[in-house]
């Protein structure tokens, strides 16, 4: 029903919007939300390839679940950092988080 290029188009546009969010934002949590958008676009492209293939390998679904697990675990790990930084008054502005810069 829906041509294959339409799904690639939505994946590409979401990827570009997430990339622009990562490149242009200064707040740490918003950068992480843009990374989540890129995760969503990669799952769209993966499932569209899996759905349109004639002899699709079911390992694509295992990769999909792995991507979800990585995204969820990453969010959980980063929220603990968020709570720590908020309770200690550390700023979320990335231009001020410069201790690891050379």
């Amino acid at each position: 029903m829906i041509p294959f290029t339409y799904l690639l188009a939505i994946g590409l546009s979401l990827f570009g919007i997430g990339l622009a969010g990562i490149a242009s934002e200064k707040h740490l949590v918003v950068i992480l939300l843009s990374i989540e958008v890129i995760f969503a676009s990669s799952t769209i492209i993966l499932v569209s390839f899996f759905s349109f293939a004639s002899n699709a390998d079911p390992s694509a679904l295992i990769m999909l679940v792995s991507i979800w697990a990585v995204a969820a675990a990453e969010i959980i790990a980063l929220i603990t950092f968020y709570v720590y930084m908020k309770s200690n008054g550390i700023s979320f502005d990335i231009s001020k988080l410069s201790k690891l810069k050379w």
Binding site: Y6, A9, S13, L14, G16, E25, V30, V37, D57, M63
Partner: protein, 160 residues
């Protein structure tokens, strides 16, 4: 025909809410926009006739992850000053490229869908079946260990 109209509506929902993540002033609004992006992605899965994946996307990402995020960031008041407008062009260029592929398919590479899918399948098999995945996992773990040691050192300096 009706499915293509619905696809355009879902496209608009997902793209606009993804742009709203870094355009809205408050952090809690940005997290709600992220859950709208996941909702739009779930609609796309429904349009491909993958109903199980759409349901799992709703349950795991919207129901679990977005709920957790909204509860976790709900105490933040407002976010900081926003983006440099020059980098916003990346999003617009990618949107323009995707629309040009939609309206004129000759901009896309001139290979058949079967060839593209076979190439993607062989690339996926090469990544998953060889040792490349193991190398990538070990490299990521190494970076995480180094980063954790450095961060813990800095945090103990802050506590003490």
């Amino acid at each position: 025909m009706i499915s293509i109209i619905i696809f355009y509506m879902v496209f608009a929902l997902a793209a606009l809410s993804a742009i709203c993540i870094f355009l809205l002033k408050k952090l809690s609004y940005a997290v709600i926009a992220l859950s709208l992006v996941f909702l739009g992605s779930s609609f796309v899965f429904l349009l491909i006739n993958q109903d199980a994946i759409a349901l799992l996307q709703l349950l795991v990402l919207v129901g679990g992850l977005s709920t957790y995020l909204i509860v976790a960031v709900s105490t933040e008041e407002h976010q900081l000053a926003l983006f440099k407008p020059g980098y916003f062009v990346i999003a617009l260029i990618s949107l323009f490229l995707s629309f040009s592929i939609l309206f004129n398919p000759s901009f896309a590479p001139q290979i058949s869908t079967e060839q593209a899918l076979d190439f993607a399948a062989s690339a996926g098999a090469a990544i998953a079946s060889g040792y490349a995945l193991l190398y990538i996992a070990v490299a990521m773990l190494f970076v995480v260990v180094i980063g954790a040691v450095v961060v813990l050192k800095e945090f103990t300096e802050l506590i003490v």
